[in-house]
Symmetry: C5
Subunit: 92 residues, 5 copies
């Protein structure tokens, strides 16, 4: 799983039925890469979240028919910018 | 899921039966990488779309026997070049 | 799915039963990365092909017991070197 | 599977039910990339571990309903910093 | 599938039951990246092998309950250092 930050919502009027009525969020990782995820926890812009990928992303939505490959699976309580940018001190 | 732009159609007369009669599109991501996807929404060249990968790509086509690993799952309403090239302002 | 070029055949006398009697090809992508795929369409050295990855690779062989993670799924009719090296003009 | 080092625990009060009551660890690979995994073996900060990804990550937890895409599958007995940073001598 | 070279065995006394009694090998790819695989063919240090990833890795072991994401699926008969380092001549 990865740690990403919620940037904004994504609006796609025209989408496949497997994503119908699901909240989509634009996320950014520590390197500035952009991805799109189904939100299963109610995250808000600015939140640091963990993302679940591959086939587990479908199950994590609560309905395995949801055709996502990335789902927000949790909101991190105590993350911050320093950690996000990779400046995690080595374990001692 | 990723955000990509439709470049053109792809013609492959000789292909496996699992891709028979499916529309294939050449897509480009923000870094200029090229990928090929089955189109499940009717996207046109120039559209910004979200792509669904892995096993979810099969389900997103509406027929899990379609042997794709990438499917266009939605057309984005309000994306533009600035966002595509990674110049998304950080959430405040 | 990705676009790759067939370089040559691969000979592995000693292999798992799930790859028994399957044609293996060495492929090269636009960046020079080398991968190995099961050939389901009869591609020849020099052909530009589309490759199907992950669990879809098994199904694309026509027998889901084939233990591949990459399968050649089609031969591209009209690809060329310029397109392969990423010099695809942007859609207008 | 990859070799990573455990950095610390991750606290996410608000998470999907598929991760309920599972220990999450923040891991770092040899290049400094950060990932999050479910811990199935009881690793501690500083341990070098092997990580199992994709659908196998669910099965490795002992309960395939756990919605992870990365699980700590073993603690390495004899790894060290030199090996971790890629200075493995070539096989002779 | 990828082409990698076997570096050495990996010892993990403490591991999940899904990897119990399986031979684990440390592998290196052409760029020096290190990965760990279950060995299903009896490869030795120095051998060039093909590796099978994702869900196919489980099936390739001969027992889909083995919780690996990478399995050695064959030993290459005629590979060498020049090919490994990407100096494969283009197909003519």
């Amino acid at each position: 799983m990865n740690i990403m930050r919620v940037v904004r919502d994504l609006v796609t009027t025209h989408r496949v039925s497997g994503l119908h009525a699901r909240q989509l969020r634009v996320l950014e990782d520590a390197k500035g890469n952009i991805e799109v995820a189904v939100d299963a926890v109610g995250a808000r812009a600015g939140d640091f979240v963990i993302t679940i990928a591959y086939s587990s992303a479908r199950i994590a939505t609560g309905d395995p028919r949801v055709t996502t490959d990335l789902t927000i699976g949790g909101i991190i309580d105590d993350w911050n910018e320093d950690k996000f940018t990779g400046r995690i001190p080595a374990a001692s």
